[in-house]
Symmetry: D3
Subunit: 68 residues, 6 copies
């Protein structure tokens, strides 16, 4: 599947926390920085997200801000 | 300024392309991966975005997807 | 590629309009309704978006509103 | 109310799941495809979202990605 | 039309700038603060957005960040 | 920190409601209108969000819709 979202960063799941509806997943990038993703618990379970799993973070470019 | 957006990744501007309304900025992260940001041209100019500039990429967690 | 974004609707590209940075793509769904996608022109060209092409529309659930 | 969000798809609520803050609503479109919406529980209750209800799904065009 | 997006702020259009695809609209709120909206030019024209027009700004709650 | 997000509105926290993952914060603007923000509970606690606190609401322009 080729996706229009141009931001696709490989990383490793560092932690996952879930409640009934939403899940919060912390992903560590190769450079040591972290990205937090908030998705539905259903999606997290369908993808089989678990600690230590290699995963790709995906972000639409129009959602990315910059700061000095 | 402390911001609720938990994703704040440091990088360097690799390229910038602008038209009347929108600008597309490519940022290189320390690990070598890239992130594309689409912001208004006004914002890019206010921040002084230019090639080689050190910059921080900011993303709200609810905008971050995951994929296998 | 399995993606956490749970909204993946199949359709056909009805029209595409591009400028230097952004592209606007109208997709027709099987039920006859239409979805408009605004992505970067670079993404549209990388995906080879053109009229008549079968394509999948992808939307993160947290971006979907409801109305009466 | 006329809204700038150009994606307004009619459908029927198939299921709803709520916790204290967030609600997840599955909507079935006429063509048989489904869309998941994550909104606040307060919004879901204010709109009176319930199974079988006819509803309109609303999405801003800049939130819509494409994939092959 | 009742909409799940809970942020609906009344204001007045202060300026509008358009190119082929995207439009940038500055809205002044009653308290004197401003909000910038980036929508498609097609949407801006369909809504008849023009300087001095009274308009409502609409934002999904999950898109709103906070900062100190 | 200068941020590309051009919408930065000052207000006062009117209420906050939290569960394990997500928090819902209602902010009152000087003109009397309200904005609801949904962020992670971790972010809300890191920022020290509490009733009566002066806070800034931040929104990326591409997330702002308009309606008549």
């Amino acid at each position: 599947m080729a996706l229009s979202a141009r931001n696709q960063l490989k990383g490793t799941v560092k932690s996952i926390k879930k409640d009934a509806i939403m899940a919060e997943v912390v992903v560590e990038l190769p450079g040591g920085q972290e990205i937090v993703s908030v998705i539905t618990t259903t999606s997290a379970e369908t993808l089989g997200v678990s600690e230590g799993k290699e995963i790709t973070v995906v972000i639409k470019s129009t959602e990315v801000m910059l700061s000095n």
